[in-house]
Amino acid sequence: MSENQEVDIIDEVISQDYKYGFSTDIEMETAPMGLSEEIVRFISAKKNEPEWLLEWRLKAYRYWLTLKEPTWQNFSYPKVNYQDIIFYAAPKQKITLDSLDQVDPELLKTFEKLGISLTEQKRLTGVAVDAVFDSVSIATTFKDQLKEKGVIFCAISEAVHEHPELVRKYLGSVVPATDNYYAALNSAVFSDGSFVYIPKGVRCPMELSTYFRINAENTGQFERTLIIADDNSYVSYLEGCTAPMRDENQLHAAVVELVTHNHAEIKYSTVQNWYPGDKEGKGGIYNFVTKRGICEGSHSKISWTQVETGSAITWKYPSCILKGDYSTGEFFSVAVTNNHQLADTGTKMVHIGKHTKSRIVSKGISAGKSHNTYRGLVKVNKKAEKSRNHTQCDSMLIGDRSGAHTFPYIEVNNNTSQVEHEASTSKIGEDQLFYCNQRGIGTEEAIGLIVNGFCKEVLNQLPMEFAVEAQKLLAVSLEGSVG
């Protein structure tokens, strides 16, 4: 294939439209632009929060003021002006709803359009959904059925009132407000997100899922998710995200905390499809997220699976602190970047308990002029005897203007543990494409097929209901690119 043809086809990809770029016209209540102590108080007051939580927020805010934005990432971006962001935006309506009849039909329609049905008859069977629109949770489905089993699944703002003892005990216990710049910011201004508690011995009867939608202009979304799995319990949780196409960059700085007790397991999956910006790199979401889980109990397990296709910049490292003996941490990741997208993502596995195990499988795919970085830390403490890690890190390049980078950090402080690292880089070959073409498979389908094959190990980890969606999403994000 000549160079010109190659460029043509790559250009074709780049002009691919973002399917979820529409915006919803709805009356909103917003905080004044910018960030100050008043804004923090405003958000807390909006949510009618107890004093301790306001204090917690203010402490975080004051700490944040002393911090500087981190600069160690493998990309550069224009400075975020925090005075140009609206930190709270909510559709004008009652926040606590008794039934869906009270939800603005525009909102229901929005989620319908996104493929998330909140109305009874069309609900995704076997999946309970919490829908978050800008700064508030709109509705949570299947709440009653879950309650029967003792499972709590609700908006975190609701949990603050309904289950204050749990929230107070666990909020910030894995990601302290002082953890990093964006965690401090989130702790000060977080508005909503999901709260999950699985009681002892309960296997959550359905998938739990939160769907995040940024809609309003100039807003940031700062959600907070907290999931606790008590002894011998299990839950599988999935989050999805989209945003309208807007010319300015919007900030999404979430914090997710997971806690597993003895013999408990949390499987956390993300399909991230925030607006990635246009082909010149204008607009798009800055996805600066702190996600961390702690395997508090022995034989407990936390498994992160992420499919990252959206956002102008993705900067996150879902991590596991393996504190309980014989605990297990897993990280399965597919990160796709196209056009001018940037991703710096990976994980941290911190082995503290004895006989702890971790597994990392990272698949990075870069097309267009994008850059995709894997950054990971495997740290084995002195007392984490006989621990094991296996890391596999594969990159695929599409076209000749994209980049793949790998920064693995390994720190082992005892001599009974084993750490393995494997890495590879490949290109979608012209030969592979021609082979597919010759069998009647067009170039776009061929890329979808090849990329899905490349990511198979990770996609297999997703709950069935979402694996198919994720496969399609991968194909769409890369439509037409060529190697």
Binding site: S2, C436, Q438, N452, G453
Partner: protein, 273 residues
């Protein structure tokens, strides 16, 4: 050797036979990066026929198969190719495949993580879409797979493995024939399918092809050596040299080439120039 005739630049069907051709190549010239490889190929292939194309290294055999299949590296500078009367050169590689052109690759490509089943399901359904048909039901597709697997004696375990990944040379070639069976092409081009095969694999692959031969499809068998043609017996043998068909004949021409090599043909061509 009265059947051997020199065709040169004339547009004639082989051996002067007339009839409705499936594939018609007229004065085909092609180059890569400015280097002329095909210098006026003329070939008529009718349904039900098997044509062998032989020739020394660098004669343009693989280029011919790549140009017919629509590989973009080559520029066609002159001539025409039609399949069932449709202009093939005007079509993308995938459309040619959907119209019924199949190339069995000399070096089948590996696609990690994609099973042969999944790959073929995509291929079959893309073709059906092109023909305005609904995608095949999963159960029907699997039934078809089983049928064809038995037909070409393909090992079942291969279809669930990643396409061609870690396959032996023989397995790869058999997988090509299996794909051919699944896609039911009108015109199959076998590009040096015999290369790298031991005698047992060669026999299995050839048997597969022979079973698939019918009055409705045609084959172009590109090979360096005569031994493949012991198994897949051609109706016509053409010798390609310097980008032209310089000699055509029946199966006996292949035997003659095996005995005498290509030098005598080269000499003949040089003398006539």
């Amino acid at each position: 050797m009265n059947e051997i005739e020199k065709i040169g630049n004339q547009t004639l069907s082989p051996l002067g036979r007339v009839g409705e051709g499936l594939l018609s190549i007229k004065n085909l010239k092609a180059e890569i990066e400015g280097k002329k490889i095909l210098n006026g190929i003329n070939l008529e292939v009718k349904a039900g026929e098997v044509h062998a194309i032989m020739g020394p290294n660098g004669a343009g055999k693989s280029t011919l198969s790549a140009v017919l299949a629509g590989r973009a590296d080559y520029d066609v500078t002159e001539g025409s190719v039609t399949l069932d009367g449709k202009d093939l050169l005007d079509m993308s590689a995938e459309d040619r495949a959907r119209e019924g052109v199949f190339l069995a690759f000399q070096y089948p490509i590996e696609i990690p993580g994609v099973s042969t089943t999944n790959f073929l399901k995509t291929a079959v359904n893309e073709k059906r879409k092109y023909q305005g048909l609904e995608p095949m039901e999963a159960t029907d597709f699997l039934k078809l797979m089983r049928q064809k697997m038995e037909f070409v004696e393909m090992d079942k375990s291969l279809t669930s493995r990643s396409l061609n990944e870690g396959f032996s040379g023989g397995e790869k070639k058999r997988n090509e024939i299996f794909q051919m069976a699944m896609l039911e092409p009108k015109l199959s081009i076998l590009d040096e399918t015999d290369s790298g095969l031991d005698i047992d694999a060669l026999r299995l692959v050839s048997e597969g092809v022979n079973k698939l031969r019918s009055k409705d499809n045609a084959y172009i068998v590109i090979t360096h050596y005569q031994r493949l043609l012991d198994y897949i017996v051609p109706d016509f043998v053409h010798v390609l040299y310097k980008g032209r068909i310089v000699k055509s004949g029946d199966a006996s021409l292949a035997k003659e080439l095996e005995l005498k090599g290509y030098d005598w043909i080269k000499a003949e061509v040089e003398a006539s120039m």
